[in-house]
């Protein structure tokens, strides 16, 4: 069975090892499952432990647990010297770093289950994404996705140093894994990312605080020239697939009160056009920020963040206006399709919200820039560290 270290074996088959492929499938399954589950709750409402959306999420956890566990047991007890040489130790066991992170994620997901169940019994079934038990669940899911990312990152870095082959293949797998993580981050901010909220200062502050870290880290750690762009593209593709596929399924609300009769699954929001600022991140890093080309990451962070903010703001500000217009009300953009069974029809759907309470001001944009600088700087540091991960 091919394994983690001998890249030669990998290159012969020109495919990813099964456990890596399975982890990437698991990471995707989690994103698909969460988007499906959100749609389920918005459309049908009533669920059980066994809904297909939940199954997709569990599949991600199970794949991560099995692959991570198998890697740890195999490397510890039956690993070849080559495999053991590219493992890190954890309480006497050995496995690649990504396996440990994924196992941790699977356990965190398991832990969140009784916690969330108790939470619903104590405070009622929540109709929100952000709650303490959901954060434990999210930490677990993102842990699995980071594990998948690290699992392809180490072979990429070793291959780039001439200790293996398939730099490009591992590189694409890496940005795909990063795209899945980015998708999770956007899901966590869904409640603040309705097109109607995209003219508020908070939307830009939250986006600048959260998204640059992943885009910049991916760009710096990847050996591909357009890594941030590809990361954003994979995020958009995964989300778009759900935007286009979910409404094809007929469904109707099973909980009331029903203010918005539905006959199909509600799609997620049209993805943010992160590909635009991501391309600028790549462009700048190619010139100023790749390994050895710059000396001061703080200065670089300022430049990257300014580019991110300007392009993200300009793109999303205008695109939000389009999404609220009748021109977006079709299957492609799914404008006006994101409302749940409990959302009354009304003029509020077609206007920007909180323009008075939270308008975009120079001060607000300044705060967004500061958050972007911080996020970018962390991304640069994290990306540099990831570019050195070999195990």
């Amino acid at each position: 069975m091919e394994s983690i270290a001998p890249a030669a074996a990998v290159s012969r088959t020109a495919a990813l090892p099964w456990h890596v492929a399975a982890m990437l499938v698991g990471s995707t399954s989690i994103v698909v499952g969460i988007l499906w589950d959100i749609s389920w709750h918005m459309t049908i409402g009533r669920d059980t432990f066994w809904t297909p959306a939940h199954m997709a999420i569990y599949l991600g956890g199970v794949l991560a647990g099995i692959c991570g566990g198998w890697l740890a047991l195999k490397t510890t007890f039956a690993g070849t010297p080559g495999e053991r040489d590219v493992a890190v130790r954890f309480w006497g066991f050995r496995a690649p770093l990504g396996a440990w992170v994924a196992i941790w994620g699977a356990l965190a997901m398991l832990t969140s289950a009784p916690f969330d169940d108790w939470w619903h019994n104590a405070y009622g079934l929540d109709v929100e994404i952000l709650s303490p038990p959901h954060m434990v669940l999210a930490a677990g899911m993102i842990g699995i996705q980071l594990g998948a990312m690290l699992l392809v990152l180490a072979p990429q870095n070793r291959a780039a140093e001439g200790r293996g082959q398939g730099v490009r293949r591992w590189g694409i797998a890496f940005v795909y894994a990063a795209g899945a993580v980015l998708s999770m981050l956007t899901i966590l901010l869904t409640e603040y990312s309705y097109p109607n909220s995209q003219h508020t200062a908070f939307f830009y502050k939250a986006s600048c605080g959260v998204y640059p870290v992943m885009l910049v880290a991916a760009a710096r750690a990847s050996r591909l020239r357009w890594a941030a762009t590809l990361t954003a593209a994979f995020y958009m593709l995964i989300t778009l697939a759900m935007v286009w596929i979910l409404p094809l399924f007929p469904a109707r609300p099973m909980l009331g009160p029903i203010d918005n009769p539905l006959d199909h699954m509600v799609p997620p929001l049209f993805p943010l056009l992160l590909i635009v600022p991501a391309a600028a991140v790549d462009w700048i890093l190619q010139r100023r920020g790749l390994r050895g080309k710059t000396t001061n990451d703080w200065l670089l962070a300022v430049g990257l963040s300014a580019a991110f903010l300007i392009l993200f703001f300009a793109t999303q500000w205008l695109f939000a206006e389009f999404l609220l217009s009748p021109a977006s009300r079709n299957w492609f953009f799914a404008g006006d399709m994101q409302w749940s069974y409990g959302d009354e029809p009304g003029a509020y759907r077609y206007v920007f919200w909180q323009l008075d309470e939270d308008p975009v001001t120079p001060a607000g944009l300044g705060t967004a820039l500061l958050l972007a600088i911080l996020s970018t700087r962390v991304g640069l540091w994290w990306g540099s560290w990831m570019s050195r991960v070999r195990r």
């Binding site: 969140s112 009784p114 929540d126 409640e191 909980l255 050195r388 195990r391």
Partner: protein, 468 residues
């Protein structure tokens, strides 16, 4: 793995605000400590008893049982369904009905669970064959649930394991993940790994402290959102008891509507012996923020005050206070239907309780026989009030159950449905009240019936055994 729910919290908050402004209140319930709703009536030709056990949190699951009683015309129906109908959205906004499953070993009993997603006034639309009955239910968070010790220990252990695992993984990552294959970490790397692991531990601890504070704030919000009826103040002056509703919400909520022809049914119970009882009908003075009633000749003392009212949407609540009543001569009664009972009077009012064993949490028929034919008293063949000496349970029952008739009528108007009741106005000499005592202990039951134009009240002390 729990439900990672829905987006659009902002939208929901807006809508919630709209509900609060235009519809009705947060949480109120027409009882004290006795949340289950009992219904005895008919769904078309089928006599049924429905018990709804509302959730203690919202959204939450209501447990519903439908019992087909003897006397069904046209044979046993094949299908029993239940459907939650929210007052504001009506039948058009209701989810499809759920089929209630037969309970094995108990022929004629059907059970179902219904999700009630929003606080407010609901009716459960019960369909038995072609017959329909409406059972009004209100939803409101009534309790904060603590965490069981066992679960707390398991979660704490898992949390500790995750914490230690995360710190260890970070340490391992710093120590070894950057090493070339086969390379052994040197002392510097090991030291750095320890330092970074320690910093990670501190940062994680800060994250956990932040998480705990978030949890605490959710708990505080939920606590603030718990059921509390309008704040009221009872006072007595010149033989008149006044009940002032001192609650800003009273101006925002839908107005009160009459139940059995009265805007308020007010019950007085003397502490601590429960030896004096009155059922009065105060009338509003000016606005619906002040109600007044002339007091009958009650012995002086401290009385518990329970005022049952129903809002226009069918939303009932019980307003409670305590008042000191001085010795006063009886004034003219405000309402001819006012009635009272003192310990010195004949205890049973000529009524006989057909004794049965009472067990907490078990459905019973409290049946009382009179020696004379009974006539309707405020539209019902009987009224029963049940309370505990500690005041933690108070409920006003009718032979048709514990729901508010005014609530049911509000829904009947809204849905265009008429619910028939098994206990009509035919001449009878016995009344029966469906009930389930919520907790073991001593209770006092006052039963009120009318005969020969006179209201008689019987008082009965009962002991309810714990469920074994």
């Amino acid at each position: 793995m729990g439900e990672l729910d829905v987006a659009g919290a902002a939208v929901r908050r807006r809508l919630l605000l709209l509900f609060l402004l235009f519809l009705l209140p947060a949480a109120v319930l027409a009882h004290v400590g006795s949340p289950n709703v009992f219904f005895d009536g008919e769904a078309g030709p089928h006599p049924i008893r429905v018990i709804v056990r509302p959730p203690e949190v919202v959204p939450g699951v209501a447990e519903i049982t439908v019992r087909l009683k003897e006397g069904s015309e046209g044979g046993q129906p094949e299908r029993v369904t239940v459907q939650p109908v929210y007052y504001r959205t009506g039948i058009e906004g209701a989810p499809p009905p759920d089929v209630a499953s037969p309970v094995p070993g108990d022929p004629g009993l059907f059970a179902a669970q219904l999700w009630l997603m929003t606080q407010g006034s609901y009716t459960v639309r019960v369909q038995v064959g072609d017959g329909v009955a409406l059972v009004p239910v209100v939803t409101a968070p009534t309790r904060l649930k603590g965490m069981q010790r066992g679960l707390g220990i398991v979660l704490a252990a898992l949390g500790l394991f995750l914490f230690a695992g995360a710190v260890t993984i970070v340490g391992s990552a710093v120590r070894e993940s950057g090493l070339a294959p086969g390379e052994v970490p040197d002392v510097r790397r090991r030291l750095r790994a320890r330092i970074v692991a320690a910093i990670t531990g501190v940062l994680l601890a800060l994250v956990l402290i932040g998480g705990k504070s978030w949890w605490d704030s959710v708990e505080a919000e939920e606590r603030a959102d718990l059921y509390r009826p309008f704040a009221v103040e009872a006072s007595v002056r010149d033989g008149v008891l006044a009940l002032d509703i001192n609650d800003v919400r009273s101006r925002e909520w839908a107005p009160l509507i009459p139940d059995h022809g009265k805007l308020m049914h007010l019950f007085l119970v003397r502490e601590p012996g429960l030896d004096a009882f009155a059922h009065l009908h105060p009338v509003p003075r000016g606005t619906q923020e002040r109600f007044e009633v002339a007091l009958p000749a009650l012995p002086a003392g401290r009385y518990r005050v329970y005022g049952d009212v129903v809002h226009e949407s069918g939303f009932p609540q019980t307003l409670t206070d305590v008042v000191d009543i001085p010795a006063i001569p009886a004034g003219p009664a405000t309402d001819p239907d006012d009635s009272w009972h003192l310990a010195g009077n004949a205890g049973d009012g000529g009524l006989t309780w057909l004794k049965i064993p009472l067990v907490a949490g078990r459905e019973v028929d409290l049946r009382f026989e009179a020696k004379v034919p009974l006539e309707p008293y405020m539209g019902m063949m009987g009224h029963a009030v049940i309370t505990r000496p500690d005041g933690e349970v108070f409920v006003h029952l009718h032979p048709v159950g514990s729901f508010s008739m005014a609530s049911q009528q509000a829904f009947e108007r809204k849905l265009g449905v008429t619910t028939a009741h098994a206990h009509g106005h035919q001449a009878v000499s016995a009344v029966s009240f469906p009930y389930e005592f919520p907790r073991p202990g001593r209770y006092r039951i006052w039963v009120q019936v009318k005969s020969g134009g006179r209201v008689v009240t019987g008082a009965f002390d009962v002991r309810v055994l714990p469920r074994t």
